[in-house]
Symmetry: C2
Subunit: 398 residues, 2 copies
């Protein structure tokens, strides 16, 4: 066989971590806190069925839905992104500066295509989203983790590392972060946007969880503080509409969007048309507001169930994050328990999570006693049962 | 703004060519022979509507369609590819060695991710599909064109160029080639597969048009002659189901598929679920056979209308390909007419095509008097009108 490209060597580790998650999730008896899926119960199946029946007609939008479409995505959806999702958050956007992508993650890939040469540095939170690290590594970027405290990434450390490593990009998930569930306060958001402008560095803001807020005050995206076009706002319809539709969007300076469109064209021509139309119509018909209330109500109940279960089942000395929204909490275990080892045993007890070590870059020892717990797609009853299993196992180790 | 990655410089030319096509296609009064779309009239809108109504229910497949899915694509669709599309063509495939992608073109991108380092050589037909050259250039591959005669790419020249350039890959569209409409005979197919094995080179077989055959004998894919796993078969549902659904597949040796799955995961996680389910059900319900007959009948009529129009409108000395299927013919004009210049004028006469020069790699002078005419999405009546406009313009130049 001809030699694989160099980039494939770099991603071997993170790809293995991601694949390992899918296995455990396939056993129907296992209660998995592993995946990042939102509640299946809340997926708007009925509304999408109604819309599909209306648009899939030759005299309505049937041909548009099935024929080739524009690389940038349909204008109706880009206008909805600008008008209904960005403007209310203090981000005035021109629909021409928005690109529709095949799921939020594709933005990270396309932005790497546009900006990353092998060896370029990307700063990220420590811990950060492992799936994006996989992408960065495929582009042979050097990922450097930045210090994170209870409020999230520390802009002072980001500035120091910008000066030390001259990165091309800083990757941040500011709201209900993956994996920690932490939310970056407004002053740090503003500071990051300023750092991007001051040092000519792309601030890649990945904000897919932000609309799933159950408590606390809404915060503007980093992009709202951007004065020079260095912040790129990536978002997704996965958590607020449907993950399987693979719909995301990116809003950026026009010079960047033009290049992203070229990269998108050379990746897969355009995003699937029917999901774009179904999503746009979902908003156009006014279903979103009610749906978002339902989503928040279902997920808030699960967040609360998870918090109560942690309180009840975890041994003394355990620390965890109270997330104001999103799908995750981050748990730090006492007594030197290695969660990578723990997971192997936990699967035998029919409970799964993601071990913390995989969320750190650069071969650090950090996170070995941590785990990410996702409550999004687990009912409150199963959260209680699963956490009992997990708590019993952990307590048996101490 | 931070510097764009080196790869973006390489694709500037081909990206501009592709964008130029989309503009001309947007004027509703223009009769465009430019795009590569199949007939909108033949899109299976009614069947897909029926299937959508059935599967988008909470008690059927509604949750599956809207929730996250497997990176590799749903098993039902991979089994259909193996059983209904590959086996009858002499290609016995394990569904585990098939990956579903977001449109046929994505395979070229993923395969470059897996195999291409900057500077690696890819051999291709001369002329070849410009959109794939765009992808190869984004990966900083060096594209070298191989000699093509009336039967398609010449394996002897391929072998000489393998020895001279040591390529990683040979990219071939063997059936109803894009842009020429030519079909490679069986012995050349076999020879290409052998060259891949003999010299340890990937033969990337891109075969999206093959099922749209209107005359002549069906031929096995190159992959059917592959004895060592060096041939990778890329195909698409764009021409036989729906282009806007962005559904394609790749069948390859397991060692390659594993890497392609990693690359897919790091590109956009997985292909949109609802289109996969709609397509799989379309086959499972037995709609495909009848649909393919309809597709071939509609497109055969258009091919015949185009052949008749060429005969009637083109000046003496014009040569063109009689395609046994697919969507394209390739026209070579007499009298030193430069089709890139001609196109600018043609748009004023409300007729469009793609100029030939863009389909050649490596700054050659070839193809300047050629054009690709696509008849797939133009009715016979409009083919007659459009070709009259084009013929009058061309004759006025001589």
């Amino acid at each position: 066989m001809p030699a694989f490209a160099n980039r494939m060597e770099y991603m071997a580790g993170s790809a293995a971590i991601i694949r390992s998650l899918f296995g455990a999730m396939n056993d129907p008896e296992t209660i998995s806190f592993g995946g990042g899926a939102p509640a299946s119960d809340a997926l708007p199946v009925e509304q999408i069925r109604e819309i599909a029946a209306d648009v899939l007609r030759r005299d309505t939008r049937g041909v548009e839905a099935l024929q080739y479409g524009p690389v940038q995505g349909i204008r109706q959806l880009r206008e909805i992104v600008a008008g209904k999702l960005l403007a209310p958050k203090g981000v005035p956007a021109d629909p021409d500066d928005i690109l529709i992508v095949n799921g939020g993650l594709e933005t990270m890939n396309l932005l790497c295509q546009v900006f990353i040469n092998p060896g370029d540095v990307i700063l990220c939170e420590s811990p950060t989203f492992v799936h994006c690290v996989e992408i960065f590594e495929m582009f042979q970027a050097k990922c450097i983790g930045c210090r994170t405290d209870d409020l999230g990434i520390d802009p002072e450390d980001v500035e120091n590392k910008i000066l030390e490593y001259h990165p091309k990009m800083v990757y941040v998930i500011p709201t209900f972060q993956n994996p920690t569930g932490k939310t970056l306060p407004a002053e740090r958001r503003e500071k990051l946007a300023e750092l991007g402008s001051k040092y000519d560095v792309i601030i890649l803001e990945d904000d897919p969880y932000r609309d799933l807020r159950y408590s606390g005050e809404e915060l503007k995206p980093i992009k709202a503080y951007d004065k020079t076009g260095r912040t790129v706002l990536a978002n997704s319809f996965s958590k607020i509409f449907s993950p399987g539709s693979r719909l995301g969007y990116v809003y950026a300076d026009h010079r960047i969007i033009e290049k992203l469109i070229d990269a998108k064209s050379a990746t897969n021509s355009h995003t699937s048309m029917l999901p774009q139309i179904l999503c746009a119509e979902f908003f156009a018909r006014g279903y979103y507001d009610e749906h978002l209330k339902k989503l928040c109500s279902i997920h808030r109940e699960r967040r609360d169930a998870m918090m109560a279960a942690l309180e009840k089942t975890m041994p003394e000395g355990t620390r965890w994050v109270f997330p104001d929204g999103g799908l995750f909490t981050w748990v730090e275990l006492p007594g030197g328990i290695d969660t990578t080892e723990l997971l192997k045993e936990a699967v035998g007890y029919k409970v799964a999570f993601i071990a913390g070590a995989g969320f750190y870059v650069g071969g650090t020892e950090e996170g070995k006693n941590c785990m990410r717990l996702s409550y999004g797609n687990v009912t409150p009853e199963k959260i209680e049962i699963g956490m009992k299993r997990l708590g019993d196992l952990i307590c048996s180790k101490l």
